[in-house]
């Protein structure tokens, strides 16, 4: 479970200070699907980065299962990400020189699993996203949808508790977008993941259990206003 209390994130831009997230208090239950909408530059990705430990809040606390992320050392946060948090990006962010299987395997390297164990888990992960026959293909040899599937497999191969998806369908056509969202929903249900999904698409957002809207750093959750 995530518990955010009065979280603020400020960025310095020249002489000005820009609040990307302001006084955000939020609880995300285990297994919940929260969609976050909002215009570009209003703090959606910043919120995701804070939830994933990729950035630290300027003030406030972010707790994941009782652990205050902002109090952890960098190596502890990194370990937490390696074990418990999966990321999916709009631009897929696959390593271009590694095959689909090797990209998925990259997520297991920090866990120091043996080579045989890694291979087994990679095969399972690729099969679960329907990419078993594309294991040896490089990202440049796959379509956008296939690349995003590989990215999903990479995020889920470590069996995380949390999945953070930043505009996962932003670079896909309509049909592929539906495929990916259907896949994500299926996996969310099957695995009981806590899913936080940032999207511009209202239709996609409505599929979530709760929808939050970021506006100038303030989050208002559907039915509940953030203070």
């Amino acid at each position: 479970m995530y518990r955010l209390t009065d979280v603020t994130k400020l960025y310095a831009k020249g002489r000005q200070t820009v609040p990307a997230v302001r006084d955000l208090t939020l609880v995300i239950e285990d297994g919940e699907w929260l969609a976050v909408q909002g215009r570009t530059g209003h703090g959606k990705s910043t919120l995701l980065n804070l939830l994933g430990g990729l950035d630290r809040p300027t003030s406030g606390t972010i707790e994941l299962d009782g652990r205050n992320l902002s109090r952890l050392r960098e190596d502890q946060v990194t370990r937490l990400r390696a074990e418990s948090i999966g990321f999916i990006f709009q631009t897929f962010n696959l390593v271009p020189t590694l095959s689909a299987a090797e990209n998925v395997e990259a997520a297991l390297i920090p866990l120091r699993a043996g080579a045989a164990e890694r291979r087994r888990r990679v095969d399972v992960a690729l099969d679960s996203v329907g990419l078993g026959d594309r294991a040896r293909h490089l990202p440049g040899e796959m379509s956008g949808g296939q690349q995003q599937r590989a990215a999903i497999a990479r995020a889920l191969v470590k069996e995380p508790k949390v999945l953070l998806a930043d505009e996962p369908t932003g670079n896909l056509d309509e049909d592929t977008r539906d495929e990916i969202i259907n896949l994500l929903e299926k996996l969310w249900r099957e695995r009981g993941l806590t899913l936080v999904l940032v999207t511009h698409d209202t239709a996609i957002a409505r599929r979530a259990q709760r929808v939050g809207v970021m506006s100038k750093g303030l989050l208002s959750v559907h039915g509940v206003a953030a203070t």
Binding site: T46, F89, N93, V95, I109, P110, A115, K158
Partner: protein, 477 residues
């Protein structure tokens, strides 16, 4: 292994850049190897010159003090010989008695470079602590001057000295002295039984120019010596051309008009170990304060010519050029590696998001840089070998020059104040220039390659360590 796979694929992706960096490193390292090889070749040439001056087994050499030059009007020493050149013609004077030298050949065996040392001093030196062996020798010049019959008349040719070096060899200590540096190519060397015989070993170059072979006769101050062997010597500034037994050289030679019986002018000393050389040098200086005591390293300054210039060039300019080339190569490698890391910021941010620690990513980048460095090192060694081969093939022969005195005194009494001088004959020999790549140079090249690779990777690693994942992911691909 994932590390190797990732490394290999990444290098293949930026193959052109990797080759460019490796090439830059190769050029820098290749220059270092080539300059080191040239320097080693020059050092070897210098060493060969020095060996032939004093022999392979000699650690310390003692020579008699240089005689004082004649002052004008002082006249010849007792028993000495002088020429007088005046409008009246040429005269040769012995012990103050002068006669016309026209049409005569004056032949003299002596040394104006070194005063004699008593042969008993050789035994004293051999008894010093740290001395394994000592042997005496006579380094002499046989100089003949033929005075033309019409010398002094208008249009008459001038007399010119002809000279060749004669070495009196202690045949009971053949491992010391210049003869030990040579290789007998025909006949035999001198033996202990030749101590009083009229036999000679002749330098191969001199034998060729003088049309001598084993069995021929060579004359030393008019005395005939039978050639029993031909010796090939390392090129030297002033290699002895004829080797005769010491006792015969003592009997025939003169110093300031006096016989050289029981005299030597050079003592060759072999130390018990290299560590003993400085102490031995000091002890000999105390024993023979008037002598000149030198070791191999101090002889280098006596050799002039293009060999010396090339040595300076290789050591000074060559070294600095190599350093500059290496700095440039390292700088280019570092900059290009940094640029490559900058292009991969998003990739590294993603890996951090996956839970990769900075040091894991740094190890990946350092591994890539190291591979490029090693490839550059191997190519650099190959370039170094090629450079050394080119130098050996096309470099002009170097020259080493040492002036040696003829042993004559010439006093000119015409047209003004009398002037005296001791004519010298410069001995210049060609020294082949070769460049040798040593094992140490290859090891140094590999070490430089590794350093170059690690240096390039370390700047990039610093960048990675400071990378904030959120910032990295925000970069547009």
């Amino acid at each position: 292994m994932f590390f190797i796979t990732y490394l290999r694929r990444e290098l293949r992706r930026r193959m052109r850049q990797a080759i460019f960096i490796a090439l830059g490193l190769a050029l820098g390292i290749g220059l270092v190897v080539t300059v080191t090889a040239a320097s080693a070749g020059v050092k070897k040439a210098q060493s060969d010159v020095l060996k032939s001056l004093y022999g392979v087994g000699t650690d310390v050499t003692v020579t008699g003090a240089a005689p004082k030059p004649p002052t004008p009007g002082s006249g010849p020493p007792k028993g000495g010989q002088t020429f007088q050149i005046s409008p009246a013609g040429a005269q040769v004077c012995n012990d103050g008695k002068c006669h016309s030298a026209a049409g005569q050949t004056i032949d003299h065996l002596g040394s104006a470079s070194y005063n004699p040392i008593s042969q008993s001093e050789v035994a004293a030196v051999s008894r010093l602590k740290g001395v394994r062996a000592a042997a005496g020798g006579l380094a002499l010049s046989d100089t003949s001057i033929t005075i033309p019959k019409k010398f002094g008349q208008p249009g008459a040719p001038l007399p010119t000295p002809n000279s060749f070096n004669v070495q009196g060899v202690d045949t009971s200590h053949l491992s010391l002295g210049p003869l030990s540096a040579g290789t007998i190519t025909s006949g035999r060397s001198l033996t202990s039984s030749d101590a009083h015989a009229d036999v000679a070993v002749v330098d191969s170059g001199y034998a060729k120019s003088s049309k001598l072979k084993v069995g021929s006769t060579v004359k030393v101050v008019g005395h005939s010596f039978k050639v029993v062997g031909i010796v090939a010597q390392p090129q030297a500034g002033s290699p002895p051309q004829v080797f005769i037994p010491l006792a015969r050289a003592q009997a025939l030679g003169k110093a300031a008009g006096k016989s050289l019986k029981n005299e030597v002018n050079t003592i060759y000393v072999k130390a018990s170990s290299a560590a003993d050389i400085p102490a031995v040098q000091n002890e000999i200086k105390k024993l023979l304060p008037s002598g000149t005591v030198t070791t191999a390293s101090s002889l280098a300054s006596q050799v002039t010519g293009s060999l010396s210039s090339t040595a300076k060039l290789a050591n000074d300019l060559g070294r600095w050029l190599s350093i500059l080339a290496l700095i440039a190569a390292f700088a280019v490698a570092s900059l290009l590696t940094m640029a490559a890391v900058t292009r991969r910021v998003r990739e590294f941010g993603t890996l951090k998001a996956l839970g990769w620690r900075s040091r894991r990513i740094i190890a990946q980048v350092m591994g890539e840089s190291l591979v490029i460095g090693i490839v550059g090192g191997v190519a650099g060694v190959a370039l170094g070998f090629a450079g050394a081969a080119i130098i050996t093939a096309v470099a002009p022969q170097l020259s080493a020059t040492v002036a040696s005195a003829t042993g004559q005194q010439v006093v000119s009494a015409g047209g003004g104040a009398a002037r005296g001088f001791s004519p010298t004959v410069p001995h210049t020999v060609a020294v082949p220039m070769s460049a040798t790549v040593t094992a140490a140079a290859v090891v140094a090249a590999v070490v430089l390659a590794v350093i170059g690779g690690l240096l390039a990777g370390s700047f990039a690693s610093w960048r990675i360590a400071r990378l904030r994942p959120a910032d990295a992911l925000a970069r547009v691909a």
